[in-house]
């Protein structure tokens, strides 16, 4: 190091490498948007012969109830695909926000108690009221997820420093374990609960139609929009609580607010589809591998990559076991685990 200081004279402005990278990143987002459109189209039209954009539009504008293709598209495929897109976005962003706010690379909404909270609420519902239809579970699942996340945050907030990343991780593990015992206890003694849990426990987009979409879409939309404006906060928090405070952030308040957003995102996803793992854990890492650690880019990339992954896995699940189908949760686990291991081996993901 010989050049310690130089007078701040205006140097001839070099073509800023950062600007070039920005253009590449924007191009990437445009490409991913295109991919998402293609995957969504495939999800809607898969297995129906001779269906094009015009059939999809006609099934809404000029619906012919006698046409099986139109009915399938209108009543099953389109709502399923929309839920897939929204749930994918919510899961991915939920994971990205949680990883950012806890600086824990393995954070995923499920380790913060959401999954087990929703499951516990649903088995308790079944135990008290008996088995219900899928869309009745939505509210209970949502409330359970929210209550569990709140509990985790409250437990972690004891003590002077408030909810630090380490305490959050520990509280999440403890609450999840406690809820899991509760679930197991009920399921072992209640056959209805066992049967319903057996199906619900594997996240799936199957038989998610308009009723469920009507219930949860406002939560998805609010959560997703709120998540997208947290990038600046997450960028500050990524430098540690001390620097974030020195930069003028109110760390405790920011962390609490981000947690509320994560609860809405993860709660609505788990309520709509059941627990779907891996999207929240893997996609933010994938996004970082592509666009770097700046959340102003990581979040939009996660927003697009997550539904692509979820819909693609759902399509694969529908293809491999025709005429039946494999739940998207299972497919994601089977594809996701090796993919994640590969990602971990290629890059050192750790420090957030």
């Amino acid at each position: 190091m010989t050049t310690t200081t130089r007078p701040p004279t205006p140097s001839p402005a070099p073509a800023r490498a950062g600007a070039v990278a920005d253009v590449a990143r924007i191009t990437g987002l445009v490409v991913l948007t295109g991919v998402l459109v293609v995957v969504a189209f495939a999800s809607i039209t898969l297995g129906t012969r001779g269906v094009g954009v015009s059939t999809i539009i006609r099934s809404f504008t000029d619906y012919d109830p006698d046409s099986t293709a139109q009915t399938v598209i209108r009543e099953l495929r389109v709502p399923r695909t929309i839920i897939g897109i929204l749930a994918g976005m919510a899961l991915g962003l939920g994971g990205a926000l949680l990883q950012g706010v806890t600086r824990n690379p393995l954070a995923d909404p499920s380790i913060m108690g959401t999954t087990n909270g929703a499951s516990a609420a649903i088995v308790v519902t079944i135990m008290v009221f008996g088995a219900q239809s899928l869309h009745t579970y939505v509210w209970f699942g949502f409330l359970g997820a929210a209550a569990a996340t709140f509990l985790v945050y409250a437990v972690a907030s004891f003590g002077r420093e408030g909810a630090t990343p380490v305490k959050l991780a520990l509280a999440g593990a403890a609450v999840s374990a406690g809820l899991y015992s509760l679930i197991t206890g009920i399921v072992m003694t209640n056959l209805d609960a066992l049967n319903e849990m057996r199906v619900w426990q594997v996240g799936s987009l199957a038989s998610r139609g308009w009723p469920i979409l009507h219930q949860v879409w406002p939560f998805f939309v609010v959560g997703i929009l709120a998540a997208l404006v947290t990038a600046r906060w997450l960028n500050g928090l990524a430098l540690g609580d001390d620097i974030a405070t020195a930069l003028g952030q109110r760390v405790a308040r920011t962390r609490g607010l981000v947690f509320v957003i994560v609860t809405v995102l993860a709660g609505s996803a788990v309520a709509a589809c059941g627990p779907i793992v891996f999207v929240g854990l893997v996609v933010p890492h994938l996004a970082r591998a592509i666009c770097g650690p700046d959340y102003r880019w990581t979040l939009p990339y996660t927003l697009l990559l997550s539904p692509i992954l979820l819909l693609a896995a759902d399509i694969v699940g529908r293809l491999v076991m025709r005429p039946g189908e494999l739940q998207v949760g299972v497919v994601l686990g089977v594809i996701g685990a090796p993919a994640f291991i590969l990602l971990v081996r290629r890059r050192n993901l750790a420090e957030l």
Binding site: T245, L247, G248
Partner: protein, 269 residues
């Protein structure tokens, strides 16, 4: 640079049940370099964290221009007081330019995002710290000395009149320690920044400080210009070390030469 008045009045700071700093009054001299020294666990880092409002006072207050910092908006304080903590963490894969840019946080808002002014501040900060050539390099690929200059650049990009640094030389070899302290002196002289540093090395502290604060057990033992306050009694009191004080042959400032149990060839001065 506008002048600012950062001071602590009857300040008590602590963790859990223990008071680390108790009933302390101190004023940071405007436009000068202040260095805080003391033995391990004397409360010097705690005081710095208190001044940077990272710790809430148990009692008393930290006042910025006459107002308690806890009552001011956090972003407003962040436009005046910057801090470099002892072991800052950088996210994996972050580039120098991105990291330095994050210092601009308090100048941006919900509706006011990245501006040409931010670009100019980042560029100036990297120029001043000699890190402009590293702009697109990831932090993880830098040496310790380079990395520390990047963190200083981030604090500079924040564009505050006061910069507080907690043991910024800790993991640096002697060359880079001197280089960093020279850089901070440049910032003080050329840009008029008020600088407060917690330092371990007493001799570097004596050389670079305009104002030296010696702490022991959470209280200030003595403060003033190094040549006015440093003597063998003070070193013995604050560090529990027997020493001779000689003039630094390079700077003329006091130099502390420790007298250990071995290799002592001359009687005490």
């Amino acid at each position: 640079m506008t002048s600012h008045d950062l001071r602590a009045e009857d300040l008590t700071l602590g963790y859990a049940d223990v008071d680390i700093v108790s009933h302390l009054d101190v004023q940071v001299p405007d436009g000068r370099i202040t260095v805080i020294v003391g033995a391990n666990a004397c409360g010097k880092s705690t005081l710095l964290r208190g001044l940077a409002r990272l710790l809430k006072p148990r009692s008393g207050a930290v006042l910025l221009d006459g107002k308690a910092v806890q009552d001011l908006r956090s972003v407003d304080v962040a436009k005046v007081v910057g801090l470099l903590p002892q072991t800052p963490v950088a996210p994996d894969g972050i580039t120098v330019a991105d990291l330095v840019g994050r210092g601009r946080y308090p100048h941006q808002g919900f509706f006011r995002r990245w501006s040409p002014e931010d670009d100019a501040a980042v560029e100036a900060a990297m120029e001043a710290t000699g890190t402009a050539d590293l702009a697109e390099r990831p932090i993880s690929a830098l040496s310790g000395g380079q990395r520390q200059r990047v963190w200083v650049a981030m604090a500079l990009a924040q564009d505050t009149d006061l910069v507080l640094l907690d043991e910024p030389t800790t993991y640096l070899d002697i060359t880079h320690q001197v280089e960093l302290l020279d850089l901070l002196t440049d910032l003080n002289r050329a840009h008029g920044k008020t600088i407060v540093i917690v330092l371990h090395d007493l001799n570097l502290a004596c050389r670079y400080a305009d104002h030296l604060i010696a702490m022991k057990s959470g209280a200030i033992v003595r403060e003033g210009a190094p040549q006015d306050i440093i003597d063998a009694d003070l070193v013995s009191d604050v560090f529990g070390l027997s020493s001779d004080i000689v003039p630094d042959p390079v700077s003329g400032t006091p130099m502390v030469v420790p007298r250990g149990r071995h290799h002592v060839a001359t009687p005490a001065l």
